[in-house]
Subunit: 356 residues, 2 copies
Amino acid sequence: MNTVNARVSVQELKRFTIEAFVRVGVSAQDSETAAEVLVTTDAWGVFTHGTKLLRGSLRRLKAGGLKPDGNPRITSQGPAWATVDGDSSTGMVTSVFAMKTALAKARQCGIAYVGVHNSCHYGAAGYYAWLAAREGFIGLSMANDIPSVAAPGSRSAITGSNPISYAVPAGQYPPILLDMSVATVAGGKVYAARTRGETIPDTWLLGADGRPTTDPSGYPQIGALQPAAAHKGYGIALLIETLAGALSGAAITWQVGNWMWDDGTRPTGHGAAFIAIDVQSMMPCQKFTDRIEALIQEIHSAPRADGVSRLYVPGEMEWERHARAIQEGIVLPSDVVASLQESADISGACMPKLTS
Amino acid sequence: MNTVNARVSVQELKRFTIEAFVRVGVSAQDSETAAEVLVTTDAWGVFTHGTKLLRGSLRRLKAGGLKPDGNPRITSQGPAWATVDGDSSTGMVTSVFAMKTALAKARQCGIAYVGVHNSCHYGAAGYYAWLAAREGFIGLSMANDIPSVAAPGSRSAITGSNPISYAVPAGQYPPILLDMSVATVAGGKVYAARTRGETIPDTWLLGADGRPTTDPSGYPQIGALQPAAAHKGYGIALLIETLAGALSGAAITWQVGNWMWDDGTRPTGHGAAFIAIDVQSMMPCQKFTDRIEALIQEIHSAPRADGVSRLYVPGEMEWERHARAIQEGIVLPSDVVASLQESADISGACMPKLTS
């Protein structure tokens, strides 16, 4: 097996990511912000949304579709809301700015909504929800994207995979953290089955006729992902389209650019939405976290199905991987290593030191 | 077929429901409020959550677990939030009060959250979301309940079926309106299969061993409902438990009483949460509804799978049934008619006039 030299320390991966952003013209501070998002995501073990995305961002930053010196700003606001123009900064820089804006307003009002337009792929939705939770807020984060997911009865894609995440402060436990798309499974999972020549469950994909199929061999040229739990995933997708797209002034459905494959000189127009709820406005923090801790303990001690050794709270696996990553480094999959090499080539940054 | 005399006009069903509430001591105004919730739900064709619930409410109102003269009130508040003590009023009266509170605060601040404790089963989550949408707000409504739904890997129920709903004003179209539980299907659907002696898909129910089963014959004594899309439905259930339960000060999971079967002299302690977003604070209403209308038109004109004649927006089927109900009356299923007869017996109200 070809797994040589795939372990990297969190610090070294962050050093590389910052350097790559800086070398294409992003400020030191924005590079640090974006790197923190991507490397935290890798530390959670969510490699599809971590530094693997660096390559695509660097390409767009060089081509002009993303602006290295973009300056996200509030274009309109009220006591508990704001609309943010991302100014074609990276989705990470814009989204951190937007969630921090939501936190400041929620601290005054109890809850706040911030809608974002002129953003791009923002990485893992969960990072921004967690930004809220680590300050004692309940956080929600969601974004739209170019359509890839069907509606019940449709032949082709209707909505984006539209990620949504929430995080809840949990006292002695790491925050509860759910980060999901509205599709049954990610397109990458369908593509991996195609690569391995396997069939897939009939709840993942629609074929060319718009009917469920177990054959992934034509994907992604043929077929749309199925929405999770049919009308439920579809319905949630439209809520996200409403809050992250329609209300924020962003592009909607097919107006959104494909951030990887479309013309890199043009903005993608992605939208996003962030909601923060200030727990301590409403209830003593300790009382709230006592209640959440009791809920977690109830789940941990609940009867398990035959053969199941543990019941998990959302995010628990990711936080355990995160703790291990801090201690032992991150073991990167080979596709991420290859992608980092491309990022090094594009930016001229020095590849991170990998160990076995 | 025994379908005689099952059609009722909306006005007559509402007259009956108001009279039944009034006869057990509820004020005329609160009776009108609660009846409007239940009858609107029947008009949508959601008969599991309409006037069929009247019977259970009347029993509790007579036994004392619900207070006919309950007085929902704000116990603490800030610019964009409030906590409401339902004072053991019906869930309908408390929830209308809570959403109206959220609307007033969102009008000032842009968005508002209202958490509710000391409530009861609140009927259809969608009614309260719609209250917001008909005033031009985006509305969300959610509630917790006694556990009936498993977590991935659990042997038994962990969370309630925890309904969540949202509604979005849509200009020339009726509001987009999703109302869903976090289970794959409602328990009533499993029970109906049991009654008919049929097997069920293996994504609906867990058996006694905590493994998926196609055999509903032991339900509801044996088995827990499966969460919709596994960890996704489970994760959303915990978000609802957080916003409607933990943050509102309500009962959580097993602390919640079973509103139908538990001691009718005691409150059930249900929690709920309502969020309102004032569109016109953030964007001209016309611009927003233009964007939503375009999204709906895009869905309506999208390619359909073989054999599919229409693509629906969430709530569209319910609004078409609603329009028909206003014109032609509501054709009540036999279980609802039987339940109304019980409500008439309990309250002494005069049965609604049914026609064929």
